[in-house]
Symmetry: D3
Subunit: 238 residues, 6 copies
Amino acid sequence: MTRPSGRMNNQMRELSIISHVNKHAEGSCLVKCGDTHVLCTASVEMKVPAWMKGMHSGWITAEYGMLPRANAQRIDREAIKGKQDGRTHEIQRLIGRSLRAVVDLHQMQGMTIKLDCDVLQADGGTRTASITGAWVALRQAINKLLAEKKLERDPMLGQVAAISCGVVQNNPVLDLDYVEDSNAGTDANFVMNDKGQLLEVQGTAEGAPFTADELMTLVKMASDIMPIIMKKQLEALK
Amino acid sequence: MTRPSGRMNNQMRELSIISHVNKHAEGSCLVKCGDTHVLCTASVEMKVPAWMKGMHSGWITAEYGMLPRANAQRIDREAIKGKQDGRTHEIQRLIGRSLRAVVDLHQMQGMTIKLDCDVLQADGGTRTASITGAWVALRQAINKLLAEKKLERDPMLGQVAAISCGVVQNNPVLDLDYVEDSNAGTDANFVMNDKGQLLEVQGTAEGAPFTADELMTLVKMASDIMPIIMKKQLEALK
Amino acid sequence: MTRPSGRMNNQMRELSIISHVNKHAEGSCLVKCGDTHVLCTASVEMKVPAWMKGMHSGWITAEYGMLPRANAQRIDREAIKGKQDGRTHEIQRLIGRSLRAVVDLHQMQGMTIKLDCDVLQADGGTRTASITGAWVALRQAINKLLAEKKLERDPMLGQVAAISCGVVQNNPVLDLDYVEDSNAGTDANFVMNDKGQLLEVQGTAEGAPFTADELMTLVKMASDIMPIIMKKQLEALK
Amino acid sequence: MTRPSGRMNNQMRELSIISHVNKHAEGSCLVKCGDTHVLCTASVEMKVPAWMKGMHSGWITAEYGMLPRANAQRIDREAIKGKQDGRTHEIQRLIGRSLRAVVDLHQMQGMTIKLDCDVLQADGGTRTASITGAWVALRQAINKLLAEKKLERDPMLGQVAAISCGVVQNNPVLDLDYVEDSNAGTDANFVMNDKGQLLEVQGTAEGAPFTADELMTLVKMASDIMPIIMKKQLEALK
Amino acid sequence: MTRPSGRMNNQMRELSIISHVNKHAEGSCLVKCGDTHVLCTASVEMKVPAWMKGMHSGWITAEYGMLPRANAQRIDREAIKGKQDGRTHEIQRLIGRSLRAVVDLHQMQGMTIKLDCDVLQADGGTRTASITGAWVALRQAINKLLAEKKLERDPMLGQVAAISCGVVQNNPVLDLDYVEDSNAGTDANFVMNDKGQLLEVQGTAEGAPFTADELMTLVKMASDIMPIIMKKQLEALK
Amino acid sequence: MTRPSGRMNNQMRELSIISHVNKHAEGSCLVKCGDTHVLCTASVEMKVPAWMKGMHSGWITAEYGMLPRANAQRIDREAIKGKQDGRTHEIQRLIGRSLRAVVDLHQMQGMTIKLDCDVLQADGGTRTASITGAWVALRQAINKLLAEKKLERDPMLGQVAAISCGVVQNNPVLDLDYVEDSNAGTDANFVMNDKGQLLEVQGTAEGAPFTADELMTLVKMASDIMPIIMKKQLEALK
């Protein structure tokens, strides 16, 4: 099988992370994973959500959006529909959980950091690109808080990045673009830390059920690419 | 380690599936998995969603709800808040995908079957109990359509059921109740078919990251219990 | 005239009230009035609504919902429509008013009790069944507060129950089921206390206007059945 | 007992109905019942609601609103709160039902008449004033349709009007203003036709339960005043 | 060119301002500009919006609404649509800005005055009539606050009124009614103070672009009529 | 007076318009006016809004959004607040009107072009930058439709661009950035065509009323810069 893009099965798309693309935000980057472009910003607020009062902790949360023409077909603006749809909820919950998994929230009492991931252009893999970029923006924001002595100790416990894998025509492939995603039998997203451990696994049989062995193959493929993605993250921080 | 319930690590809670609990619905059952009680109904409509017109297919979708006092703390009614929250969206999308994975939608042209899963009482594992129960209600509804000759051929390709597993204090355990779920390092839901294949995997490191090996242990645990759950489903259909 | 159910004109459907159907709620029961099944729970909160601050009083309120397939035709979930419809508002306001009429709210300062009445299956008379069941759940919750010494004195001033009557083909009949309700010329709901007094009367000429005399006949019919309903409530509390 | 207004117990407030206050509407009047002022308009549309297609009938419906400063305290605009509250729903459903009770909808196939009742200033009894005024606006609109030959036969079966009564300090009184309404033990609204029959009865024990005898006294009081109100309606139509 | 109404190009419609039309409001008037009728009320609240806390200032804001049958075609009630539309937002923002421009908000610390402008009947020019009437209601409310010593000094810096002008078939005309407005090439609204200065200019080429010279002609026309409108405002206050 | 940016009073910020920044859209550009960055896309749909059926015309409309961290302070996402606020409505209505003023909609029957203007970073003047960029995206989309023969004749009647001017400390200045905008006595936006005519004027006295003469000075300043902006637009199209 040849992939539509001509890539090898375990080959990721060109990944670039451009830092400091927003003059207001405490952290920001533009992640480009092939034709998927996501703008990530980190915003610090010196307060916590109401339900967290008295819990001696800080909070990290994420929001996800798509510009109406990020896709081949224009989609209606959620602000006009009056609510975020199910997919948006699912993705922003995933981003938030992934980042909280590498931060000691008790080290950032009284603070909230909001990560906004807005997709300017989509071509598959927007949620994993969002996680990868959001970590960079979060790292910048925390560095700023440390430099300004608003944080005494670094609450960041590690690095987090994400990638999708899938089974297309019985072949396990890495980093699906939109065309492949639409034709995948199985599609899985992996969020990992810099120790090679898993933080989130989401696998879905969109067309064909998968076995435990196939799941392992995909985990392996994702694990192998992680050091390369994480190196890009660190370069963006320099 | 002793589990709070005294169960063995690979022991599921008492599971019962009571059929025909609703005199109006084309299919219905009350699933009780320990203290988690979910009422599942299947409703047949002789039309398809607008976006599906002209696609020579039928549709299966699910909705999920919780009565306000299903939990220890009363939660506000989503009808009053004016929208379903992110968790609800995530769960009902999962139920719908899981059921569609075992149905040939092209065999049920022009029909929609809606599965409503309403949690009367919650004690962990409501989404997996919903999937297990929804399949029974769906099977009943399809049987009725076959009996009434509204369907020529059985569109059902197999059986589907679900269970949660987790890592609690480094021990892999099956079928977490609420207390365990709150303390789990990792929590995973597995949706499988009757061939032992995976349809959905959702694993989350709520407290502690997990390795590929740990994921495999959980997959194994879930696979082993599936035949027992599926037997209960078939008994409920008699 | 023979009633569709074969009941006599002044005969109520089989009524059963099953207590303690929810392990979390401070009070709960499942009311079955024929094929109308309503799950009622009472939830205690140690605070009052914002508008009640400084009024040295407590509050009792009710919410009403219908599962999507409670009826012959599935109805859309109010959580998805984004609001409760007019009928729901009307009913939950009625339930709340009826219960407040038999409680001295000043005896329960700083507390709110919320009664949730959720219709699992409907066959006419859901609002009156809700009131009858909600009183049982409320009584249980207040008993619990008294036992826990959170209430010093019993704020409950009496018992409350409700029943519908109607005029079908010029015959006054008791406790209309759905088929009768759809064909009734006049439909009326009566909420009464244990002294035989009226708390609420709602009479509507759905097909045929009614006279003062006919209204009196219906009041009499409702009054006569009340002791029997109230006995069932007390039995459920044992 | 002397009433705050000095009126006798069975004395209504000054009632005036000014017709043709809106140059666009097919029917319109301004009802003034003491300091309660309601603007009623009837709007004809040559179509029926979607759910009524194929039913060979027309439709009559009502909407009710209050200007933000109709009351002593300004209330938030429902357009800003994003929804109509429970009381509004209850009232507009009552107005619609009352008017439909005196119209043969099958005589107005394919037409909808919408009655808008907007309270410019409130002092108790806004819902009954709305019904009284809405009938006048409806009668005008139907007259116009008859004159224009859009209706062949008069679908109006009779006249409808409404009044409130209540028990204040154990005295039955007619047409409560806001001060009395706030202090009433029982408050009841009666909608009647020109044959002296009841179309709607809504009685609520706001402070003190009431007996069947008291209910009869209030029905009598309302019946006695109806001819006077209906005469005003007819005069407004001249 | 003859105007549809027979008015001269620089002739305003008959303008009347009737004060004290609402017994509850701190200020109120009914503005009639031809067949455009707007009810304006001023409501005083002894608090400021949350975002204004600690700013040692008061606040003035406006809301605008249209009764459903204010126009030739009935429009849906915004309370039912669940939100105010873009035009409503635009107009109420304009009214609020215009009034704030002639008040020293620091002289009314801790107070909010809300101006409600509700269109009972529309025939073009509702936003300018609203501004003209809202100023009268605001002046009355402030006079009341001064009389009650709730304000020490008069925060009102001047008078404000508004008028529309337009270019119809290449003729500049004053105070367009609905028919003219629909056919205007250019439509402009001018808000001015009693020194002849501009507070707001909104000019739109609805059919034909306009030159700077034409804009000047319209400004002149509006300026010339202002003293007459402002005299009416003062007369209404007597 | 020296401007905060050091610019001369009639000096615009650096303006750049980068075309084809979105691979899916029929037209797109990124407008940078100093630190104000707006992404504009044009999306063609081969249908018209429901209200336009049978009118033998096409339609052009615009939507406007701001990413949450476009500003110094993060603002809540309108998709979460559940509605677009008043300012958003006002701006997108302005953009749509401005573009429709230079297109013969009857030449594009059965088509809708939607212009999405999303502010990635804000520093004053986002609405005028949006208009300037939206015209470029619209021109590209129309060129594409002409090239594909979906349009027979060019419906575009001219070029449109916009700029803000203001009076800051009594000095008329061009193209206000955020700091100046916050301190302006008067703020005005001008939308003009390539014949030097006005399409829209919006002038607001935010702090100090303005005279007709001052308005003329601002109109002049805006007129003078237009050819330069329009040249940039044409260069972007090459």
